[in-house]
């Protein structure tokens, strides 16, 4: 006997047309949220580890009335102080070119001409296990150069990390809401299907079909629609993510550099249609079983 036709004609329902598109848009937004979440995770990881154990001494540029020789002497004395301080593993003054490179993302290369007064920067590496006393060291540096600043980056880095983590949490909430919407859409469509095909379902039930037999018809249908919508959604997401990723890839020296997705992350993105289809299938099954349980 040909088994080509399902006992419940779900393939003729209007849901066959609109549900895959609904799922596609949800998967599209979920994919974007997922990519954002993964990029934020990378950013947090990089900021967190990149500046650990790195302090900076900033000595403002001498004003017009200032004495450049005196400035150099102060820098030398600060370098000597740092090298003698316990807990400091290295201290080196950044060259003007290095400072310009750091400022380039904000000011652009054209603004950094020779006439622009730049502060002197000393990169200090401290022993993470026993770092020097920040306040005491800052006071000693202040005695040499009153306007100098010793920064362990924790204040701004902490704020930046808090912001990034908040955004990551928002991304997770968005993903959860999208999943919830998808579940509700599948529940609605399944219940509509149960209502539309009530007579066929009742007939199967009276012929001795177990609940699982009837549920399989709906879950197979939901799996198919979920997979179809999921694939379309991911393709649309790729069409968005790839150009943006290409643009980010061109920004070599910026805060956003190095955010390209790894093969594992691409794999996670590719799994999205399968996960969506699975959610659709399980939701449809549970909805049908819940409804059938009320039949005698």
């Amino acid at each position: 006997m040909p088994a080509g036709h399902a006992d419940v004609p779900l393939a003729r329902d209007p849901s066959e047309r609109f549900l895959p598109w609904l799922v596609a848009f949800m998967v599209y937004f979920a994919a974007l949220a997922l990519v954002s979440g993964m990029a934020l995770h990378k950013l947090i990881e990089r900021w967190d580890s990149g500046l650990t154990g790195q302090w900076t001494v900033e000595i403002p540029a001498p004003d017009l009335a200032g004495n450049a020789t005196e400035q150099s002497a102060r820098i030398e004395r600060i370098l000597a102080l740092l090298k003698e301080t316990a807990g400091v593993t290295s201290a080196a003054q950044l060259a003007r070119g290095e400072i310009a490179e750091l400022l380039e993302p904000w000011l652009g290369s054209s603004a950094l001409d020779e006439d622009l007064p730049l502060p002197a920067l000393i990169a200090v590496t401290v022993d993470d296990g026993s770092p020097p006393d920040l306040d005491a060291l800052a006071a000693e540096i202040g005695r040499i150069a009153p306007r100098a600043l010793l920064d362990d980056h924790q204040r701004w880095l902490g704020r930046l990390l808090d912001l990034a983590r908040s955004m990551q949490a928002v991304t997770a909430v968005i993903l959860a809401l999208i999943a919830l919407c998808a579940v509700l859409a599948i529940v609605f469509v399944t219940r509509t299907g149960l209502s539309v095909h009530q007579k066929a379902i009742e007939l199967l039930h009276l012929m001795g079909a177990h609940d699982g037999y009837i549920a399989r018809q709906f879950q197979r249908h939901a799996l198919k629609l979920g997979l179809r919508g999921g694939v379309v959604g991911v393709v649309l997401a790729l069409l968005t993510v790839l150009p943006v990723g290409h643009l980010i890839g061109r920004m070599e020296n910026t805060l956003l550099a190095g955010l390209a997705l790894s093969p594992v992350e691409w794999g996670l993105l590719a799994l999205l249609p399968a996960v969506t289809a699975l959610i659709a299938m399980v939701t449809a099954r549970l909805t049908v079983l819940g409804t059938l349980a009320r039949m005698p």
Partner: protein, 234 residues
Amino acid sequence: MIRFEDVAFKYGTGPEILREVSFHLQPGSFHFVTGPSGAGKSSLLQMMYLASRPSRGRMSLFGRDVESLSRDERGLLRRRIGVVFQDFRLLDHLSVAENVALPLRIAGRRSAKVREHVAELLAWVGLAEHANDRPATLSGGQQQRVAIARAVISQPSLLLADEPTGNVDDRIAVRLLYLFEELSKLGTTMVIATHSEALMSRFSHPVLRLGEGSVRLEAGRPASAASAPAGSAA
């Protein structure tokens, strides 16, 4: 086979349609169920094919108290019951052959066996050439034969038919009941609901007569112009 003890039935919170219904049908018996419109013929049959539960009393099928059955057991029991519905309940999106095959597919029978059985049965009801047609393209009588073929394909122990002759002329109605008699002779317990006294009088089977909410079992009378009786009532 079927035992009702002081069974009552009502829809929701409405009045009792049936009350104090008690009878016992032996395996292989043939019974008519009759009564005026609204007497509860369909409700009685619904309880027998486990579509409804009694509101009171005790009912057992195949020696099992239906209230004690688990959900899966009720499903398995339903597979032993063939039902010819008054409105046929054929699935329009399936072909005639697929409709007839439905009980076997539900029971998980293998495709090759199913195909063989369906072909045999469609030939038996004279619809072999309509195997691939949709039910909607058939006449009322042909649809009824499809419904009968579907009801008997799994060789049920109990066959229930609700007004199976309602849509056909007298000649076909009698032929249909001969068909049911043949099945009964093979061991299937038959319960046929009909309002046609004329039709029942042509057979000598006992009658469950419904009226004023209760059921009275009448022994079979000599047939006016039909075959010998095949059933027996307890």
